[in-house]
């Protein structure tokens, strides 16, 4: 028996994540400054960690309700109402998950029949395409363009809609580009979703991290959307709680119930320690979120100023903590550029094509790194770019 042949065809059909390939190259090298991470450099604020410790001290180590602790769901309802001006019933419309990643997976599994089409925009987070595929859906990608500041055009959405379209998947602010979506275009997209009876999945994980006083208009702001939408959000980015692995889905009762069916068998519940920490985060975390947001904004400014100085075209990201500079002038693929940058300057940044073909010719630089490291990394990139131009 060849074990490799026993792997399901569907899993065999998934390519390895481009990020993982790159990770293996970076690992084992000393003195690398990494702009390749997708998480805050801050630890979770102490008051949140302390709440988790206190919960453990009290012996809170049991399962919780499948949906999650009721007081956490109530806090989530309050937070979502404040930030998205949308009300959800904590008893029936909120499901606490192991990160947005789990929520995304069970959302697709709850919604898709074989061959159902999911429209999403690329470049995007690495799991969207495989998650759709694993749920037997058909991924239909729309390439967003730097000319549009990586926002999504309603006309492109309309062109992608077929009789098989079931779901539109959105992520603004976007990983890896930092794009935010203009409200007027979002309104047109919302109208299309209503007209073509699409379910919307909106990944709002970066929605707190906005710069230059920008506002983010979620698709939830538009009429007819709430009743057809799964809002995905979590604690990893704004609250710097990536390792707590905690997210949530807010959706009408039927959708929440459907996702809960999968969640209860696959996961049972999210870890109670993380749930208790999340309550503390929602109740008392706002000042720390703002402190971290301001730090990211300063670092984004440093990065943009240096990119400008080295004449590397870089669209100005309005949110998240990524910049996506354009490296097409060098005649290298993103992967070649990233590998050479790593080899020659010990700076790691993720090749744009790891986020889909639309990311080819770009590089994802995460600026959730302290000012000194960031500054050194940018000096090294400037040296590298200078050398490439003189070759």
């Amino acid at each position: 028996m060849k074990i490799s042949e026993r792997i399901s065809q569907r899993v065999q059909g998934i390519p390895r994540s481009g990020i993982r390939d790159f990770f293996e190259l970076v690992q084992g090298r000393d003195d690398v400054i990494s702009l390749g991470v997708g998480e805050p450099d801050f630890s979770a604020p102490w008051h949140i960690r302390e709440a988790a410790i206190y919960s453990l001290e009290k012996g809170e180590t049991s399962y919780t309700s499948n949906l999650g602790l009721m007081n956490l769901r109530k806090s989530i309802a309050g937070y979502v109402e404040k930030h998205f001006h949308t009300q959800y019933d904590p008893a029936k419309e909120i499901l606490v998950t192991v990160g947005v990643s789990e929520a995304l997976d069970i959302a697709f599994r709850a919604l898709l029949n074989p061959g159902d089409e999911v429209i999403y925009h690329e470049p995007c987070y690495v799991s969207y395409n495989p998650s759709i595929y694993l749920a037997y859906g058909q991924a239909v990608k729309i390439q967003t363009k730097v000319e549009d500041n990586f926002s999504l055009r309603a006309s492109d959405v309309e062109a992608a809609i077929t009789p098989k379209s079931r779901v539109l998947m959105l992520n603004f602010p976007t990983n890896p580009t930092g794009a935010i979506q203009p409200a007027d275009e979002m309104e047109k997209i919302a109208a299309l979703c209503v007209k073509h009876d699409l379910i919307v999945i909106t990944d709002e994980i970066y929605s707190e991290l906005l710069y230059d006083g920008a506002t983010h208009t979620s698709i939830l702001a538009f009429p007819g959307i709430r009743e057809r939408t799964i809002l995905l959000h979590g604690f990893s980015k704004a609250f710097a709680m990536t390792g707590f692995r905690l997210g949530y889905a807010c959706a009408p009762p039927e959708l929440t119930e459907a996702m809960m069916k999968i969640h209860q068998y696959a996961m049972l519940c999210a870890p109670i320690t993380s749930q208790v920490a999340a309550v503390e985060a929602l109740e008392n975390g706002a000042p720390e979120v703002e402190r971290m947001r301001k730090a990211y904004e300063r670092r984004r400014n440093i990065l943009l100023s240096r990119m400008k100085a080295m004449a590397l075209p870089c669209f100005k990201p309005g949110g998240a903590f990524y910049a996506f500079p354009d490296i097409r002038e060098f005649g290298l693929t993103s992967k070649q550029f990233a590998m050479q940058l790593l080899e020659e300057e010990d700076v790691a940044a993720v090749p744009g094509d790891a986020f889909g073909k639309a990311g080819e010719g770009f590089l994802r630089c995460c600026y959730a790194t302290d000012e000194t490291q960031l500054s050194t990394a940018l000096d090294r990139i400037a040296d590298f770019v200078g050398r490439l131009r003189s070759r």
């Binding site: 990770f23 997708g38 690495v126 440093i302």
Partner: protein
């Protein structure tokens, strides 16, 4: 607080050009604003925050609770300013609660500090009583932990 002051209040070592980069403003404007704050006393000074043990500072620090008789017209101000002017006094705050002033005193020896309290501070007219607490160890100062714990390294590449 002004974003520029906010940064300087945490770390005064950034240069005008670094600050200009962070705030996406002009370098000359940053320098001018800092100069203006230095002039008008908004920025009083710049200091390094030391771990006294590592820096080899063997001096003695005492926190002294002081009860005062307030004066008609001036309240506690005249006396508080008078106490603040002693070189040994590093901090002086008026507080609510069971005593009036919290005075931090730095001396080179225990005896020095004791002498300052008994001879200078408690003999001032208007000082009703003092209670002296000697500092044994510093855990955190000016928002900085004295011992930094090595934190778990992030993965170098993550989605």
């Amino acid at each position: 607080m002004d974003p520029l002051l906010e940064i300087l209040n945490k770390n005064a070592k950034f240069t005008a050009s670094q600050l200009a980069e962070m705030l996406a403003v002009d370098e000359a404007a940053v320098a001018a604003r800092v100069a203006a704050w230095e002039d008008d006393g908004t920025i009083l000074g710049y200091q390094a925050i030391l771990d006294s043990e590592k820096a080899g500072n063997d001096g003695v620090i005492a926190f002294i609770e002081v009860k005062l008789t307030p004066e008609r017209g001036g309240g506690f101000d005249r006396l508080a300013l008078r106490i603040s002017k002693f070189d040994q006094v590093t901090d002086c705050y008026l507080l609510s609660g069971s005593y009036d002033l919290l005075v931090t005193v730095e001396g080179s020896t225990l005896r020095d500090t004791a002498r300052f309290v008994s001879e200078k501070l408690s003999t001032l007219e208007g000082v009703i009583s003092t209670a002296t607490h000697f500092q044994l160890k510093t855990y955190k100062q000016n928002g900085l932990m004295m011992q930094t714990e090595a934190s778990e390294k992030r993965l170098p590449v993550a989605p």
